[in-house]
């Protein structure tokens, strides 16, 4: 609430995050799994003197290195960029808790880039042992990067024993850390295997496919088992509010079903690949399987984000960017009193006097509605666009004014995914006045 709010029409600013994050997660997991699969395949090819396999792997590595270094790196930075714009309080908190986790990840990322470049660009020049070592260094650093980032993202869902006084390691090794590392490691192996399936189906002769598909499928089956073990652990450690969100929100239920369904289909495909070799794979089938893999990752990410509400960081920051510890103070003193940007707007743009900032409900109706609109921007617009994503206008359209007032008065009880009202009584009345005006078409 202390920061200005970026209003993104139709979509809401935080919805820009998945636009960047989901492609990144897919590519980053692809990089991690691909690292292991490439390193393993190159090692096998060298040990068996298979120059045909090495030639094929070089072709595969070119696209792989480009995609992960360019797209993976940039979208990774892009997530950080976007969360800073849309949730500055939470980003600042994550940076202050995990600054040296991020710095360590940077070191690992430098190694990842150098090893990827060396692995691809010096393909013909390195000795086999050196080339294999570069591949395994790449795989290990990409996986370590995944582990470090997972500690941070898992913390947002389950803060566990962490309190603002606790240190980095308490935050990092939070309850959902290990399950999420297993899920993501497994997902990485699976998505990389699915991609290699696509590549093989287009590029390689059938004999090579027969050899490589079972090899790749073996890694992927291990990955799927990791997903299953991690998935069970994940649901076991989910906080009650997150479990409740999944059970009561239809969209999250659909995502859960999609996630399980897609995972099972992929597991079956890998089983077939392992048992029957690569001849059954053709481009449309391989592409369909890759799509199913992408659906599994996307739904998993959506589930993780959706289940977290009403928090941005569990039990520490509510979705509108208010620290849980400060909620009572805001409810007493008012949201406006704690928001310097809102004060600036109300004072300078609307020309409201000091006393009106403390008690907006006493203002004439027009001004009360204007204050309510600004309160909507600061309290609600991070999750509700006016008409687009989670649109507030269509949502309240069938409601009576009494229902609107009642919903706002009991926000968290009406819907556990909503935070409690984080302002004083007078401000709540101003918001209600605005929503009623909005419903009547007055705004």
């Amino acid at each position: 609430m202390e920061y200005p709010v970026w209003v993104v029409p139709f979509l809401t600013a935080p919805m820009l995050i998945p636009l960047v994050a989901i492609p990144h997660v897919i590519v980053a997991q692809f990089a991690v799994g691909g690292g292991f699969l490439l390193a393993d395949s190159v090692t096998w090819a060298y040990r068996n003197g298979r120059s045909d396999v090495l030639a094929y792997l070089r072709d595969l590595a070119r696209f792989f290195v480009l995609l992960t270094i360019v797209f993976g790196a940039l979208t990774g930075v892009g997530i950080w960029w976007t969360i800073g714009l849309t949730s500055p309080e939470s980003t600042s908190a994550l940076i202050h808790v995990f600054v040296f986790g991020w710095a360590t990840e940077w070191v690992v990322f430098v190694i990842e880039i150098v090893s990827a470049f060396a692995f691809y660009y010096l393909w013909d020049r390195l000795r086999p042992r050196e080339h294999m070592a570069m591949g395994w260094i790449y795989a290990a650093s990409a996986w370590l990067s995944l582990v470090l980032i997972t500690g941070i993202t898992a913390f947002m869902l389950t803060t566990g024993r962490w309190t603002p006084e606790a240190n980095f390691f308490v935050a990092f090794f939070n309850p959902s850390f290990l399950p999420q590392v297993l899920i993501r490691t497994g997902g990485s192996l699976a998505i990389a295997a699915l991609w290699i399936g696509v590549h093989l189906s287009f590029r390689s002769p059938e004999a090579l496919r027969d050899e490589l598909v079972p090899r790749v499928s073996r890694w992927a089956i291990v990955g799927m088992l990791l997903i299953l073990i991690g998935g069970i652990g994940y649901f076991a450690v989910l906080p009650d509010h997150a479990r409740l969100n999944i059970l009561r929100a239809p969209l999250l239920l659909i995502m859960t079903t999609l996630n399980f369904g897609a995972t099972l289909v992929a597991l079956t495909a890998f089983g077939l690949g392992y048992l029957r070799g690569g001849r059954w794979i053709n481009p449309p089938e391989a592409l369909l399987m890759l799509l199913i893999g992408i659906v599994a990752i996307t739904s998993g990410e959506f589930l993780r984000e959706g289940a977290r509400k009403p928090y941005r960081i569990e039990r520490y920051i509510f979705s509108p960017g208010v620290r849980v510890a400060e909620a009572a103070l805001l409810q007493q003193e008012g949201l406006i009193a704690r928001s310097p940007w809102l004060q600036l707007y109300l004072r300078e743009d609307l020309g409201l006097p000091e006393e009106a900032l403390r008690d907006p409900a006493r203002l004439p109706e027009t001004q009360k509605v204007q204050v309510g609109e600004a309160l909507y921007v600061y309290h609600c617009s991070s999750c509700h666009a006016l008409d687009g994503y989670n649109g507030i206008r269509p949502l309240i359209q069938p409601w009576t004014p009494e229902m609107i007032a009642d919903a706002i008065r009991h926000l968290h009880r009406t819907n556990p995914a909503m935070p409690p009202w984080l302002g004083n009584e007078s401000e709540r009345e101003a918001l209600i006045a605005y929503l009623i005006a909005l419903q009547k078409g007055g705004r």
Binding site: P4, V7, V77, L85, V107, N167, Y376
Partner: protein, 345 residues
Amino acid sequence: MPPIPKPDPLGMPIPIGYLFALKVFGFFLHMVFMNLWLAGLPVAVILARTRPHVSERLIAAMPFAMAFGINAGIVPLLFLQTLYPQFFYPATILQAWFWFLVIPLLLIAYTAVYLAAFGRWRILASLAAAILLTWIGFQFSAAMTLTARPDHWPTLFRSAAPAGGVHGWTLYLEREALLRLGLMAGMAFGTVGAFLALLTEIRQGDSRLQEEARPLVPILFTIGLGIFGIAGSLYAPTVADRLPRILQLLTGASVPIAWAAAWLYRARPRPATAIILTILQGGVLVSNAIARQVVQATELGPWVDLGKIPVRGEWGSFAMFVGALLIGIGVLGWMLRTAWIRVRA
């Protein structure tokens, strides 16, 4: 009083001196690679016909410069957000769309750089990347300048406040931001010059490169000196009271010293003079990285007393980082040594 948020209640992880040192170190690293693309791409485009070998070498180096430049850029941003989140976030949110667009534009520029390096539409792709990256450079300059100017926030906010929120289409087009970009561009020509000198002396057998690059090095330094001189003479008076005299002297003098070394290299083109030139250009970047940090800290001094922010003492995770850094240096050392031996062979 500008609407400055309070410092993060979690406090500083370790004493601020360490954080400043890491921020400056990261910024220096970032500048080395970022300079290569900022001046290297326009130089490659302009010289495509007259010095094709130099142009080709520069284009071939760009994917690496981009990868490491973007990577190194994470470090100063990380520590900036640790030290000054309450200044950095409002400054970027006020220009939200422009700041957000940096990522897709960078993605396009990066792709263009690879296209050029792989020989597809070399000049057109390089030109597109050069334009986009210069724009991104300006956007960074605008964001960093506004970060240190909270007194300018209210005016920008009031021109961009739908119902108290921010629409994000405001651009901070201030003279200071342009001058800062100018200073960086001036240094960038020198860095490209030093890179070419070093590359030429490493690739002893490449006579075409020697022929084209050696006379070019002092020209690049002269262009850099000119740009730096003009931007610096306009910018320096605005920060004269905020920058200690010794740093003013260092930042001001380091550029002509490197320029003189470039002419020395021209007269005696040998590995030793190329190394001296590179070290002196490194000195230009280091002194500027320190000076920029001092100016930023002085500009923000009236608004926040960092010394009063409690320190949590995150020494455990700091030790983890230092340990990873040391192991990383070892692994990187082995990889670079191996690569060097194989490339030379």
